[in-house]
Symmetry: C2
Subunit: 305 residues, 2 copies
């Protein structure tokens, strides 16, 4: 449904590398309609952003100005306009939103800055909005937020501020290893073997130095012992997440942990953490990004622009 | 020079996944001529092997039968004919060479079997011939042989036998990470920064669990601090080889180590090991494979077929 019953008060936009999603919103943060396209930042040059957005949201516009709040890679150096990083420690939502030039004056676009950590060097862009949304939905939360994905973020929250964070590129590594190494012959499966996942996880969590030696073992076990693709892909996932948990132990051990993301990935991380005696809350990625964009919209309304 | 001054006594063949190399040999193991093509195992179906070989070696044939000794992936299940693995502990050269059917009866082809280790499951095919060559050139060698490459092998040699080995797919991982993850934007360089390599190496060798966290740090250091591609690619290499050395410590610590392979890679591993106080001998990969094929030829001549 692309046409809301009444015109929205504002529009929320989640604009990543590979996707563009827009939501027609009312002032309370309720979603009236949504629309999406594959016009992600990665496929656009600078002049392409405004038309890509207009294509989606024109049905929601009137003659009046429309506040539009966007987060994600749209604010990167290769995006529509660079929204310079805020620096940790800081609240997830920086007040320094940036505003690209537009030809259609109705589009009052604000882009939320990403966040950097100077040392160890690290960056996020988009996740800060989900974090803000989680904190809006769970006021006073103190602990760690983990956002599993291509580049999983582990984020420490104290008193409403991001105090430090760590990116682990487990999803990116999984895709590269399973599609572009000799393991591609061994792990092609949509199936799953939970015991194999958990066993592999515990092996690299307790002996992270063994990861490089174990990977080729999947291929050899396939050749010599008929290892099934289901078990192989589950072990590969377990080895990598086990290493990630070993690398991030100080983030999750004995801490409150909230997992934000899509259902399959957060369930995987929750199972991994539960296996280590570390229960985690799960929050939906879509819900939190909309709550975060809403928080940014409300902060914008509350302050002179 | 494809035509030797006199016809060879036999032909040595190194036939891997991506290449085919043939050497016209005299009985003492001297190379009279060589020829190569890109007709590797990976590009051939079963009927394609004999023509691919004939294309290269026909100038070297007479009407008489010609002994041809081959090693590598030509003997895999997807190869010309499967040469079943010998099982550790065993000498590098199995006497059970296999002989594909040929239409040209002059081609008396023998293929050297690969070697398997039952537990932990591991396999090699091709490296056993280089190991045999190294042992032929260095009689009585006891210690470890490391063959760096796409799938690096660490091999323990005691009393002329392979007692155990470990494959680490460092080269395959390096290629996948540097070409098919977000790091591709950061590590595109033909340059080299040796201090950056050695520092990164020591970091993951002493803290192998930190690898997953350090990888994205290359991207972040590039974005925030202008990390150069030379330093980035050297650090990526150092992180991966450091993890490999942590995983294989029991193979190299306090052992004789010989490195077999191409000059650039063996120099890299030698520098890494020297940095850890573990000096290594270096042997040329080409020389050792020819010495190994010669040892196989001589064993064949010495035994009734």
């Amino acid at each position: 449904m692309n046409r809301p019953d009444h015109h929205p008060d504002w529009i929320a936009v989640d604009w990543g590398t590979t996707h563009l999603r827009a939501f027609a919103m009312d002032a309370t943060g309720a979603v009236l309609a949504e629309a999406s396209s594959d016009k992600g930042m990665g496929s656009l040059d600078r002049a392409g952003f405004e038309p890509a957005l207009s294509d989606l949201i024109t049905p929601w516009l009137t003659d009046a100005p429309m506040p539009i709040i966007a987060c994600g890679m749209v604010g990167s150096r290769q995006g529509w306009v660079e929204a310079p990083y805020a620096s940790t420690p800081c609240p997830p939502l920086s007040p320094d939103m940036v505003h690209p030039e537009v030809t259609d004056a109705r589009l009052q676009v604000s882009i939320i800055p990403g966040i950097l950590q100077a040392a160890p060097a690290d960056v996020m862009r988009g996740e800060e909005t989900q974090i803000a949304g989680y904190l809006a939905l769970n006021p006073g939360y103190t602990g760690v937020i983990c956002l599993p994905g291509t580049h999983t973020k582990w984020v420490e929250i104290i008193a409403g501020r991001i105090t430090r964070f760590q990116t682990v590129m487990t999803g990116d590594m999984f895709a590269a290893l399973s599609q572009h190494t000799v393991l591609r012959h061994t792990v092609q499966s949509k199936g799953w073997d939970e015991p194999a996942f958990l066993h592999a996880l515990s092996q690299t969590l307790s002996q992270p130095e063994s990861l490089p030696a174990r990977l080729f073992g999947l291929r050899a076990d396939h050749l010599l012992n008929g290892l099934t693709p289901d078990a192989a892909v589950s072990r590969l996932s377990g080895y990598l997440i086990g290493c990630e948990l070993a690398a991030t132990r100080e983030y999750w051990l004995g801490q409150n942990v909230a997992l934000i993301g899509d259902g399959r990935l957060t369930a995987l991380y929750a199972a991994a953490l539960a296996n280590q005696g570390a229960p985690a809350e799960i929050a939906d990625g879509n819900t939190t990004v909309i709550a975060g964009l809403t928080a940014a919209y409300q902060s914008l309304k509350g302050s002179p622009q």
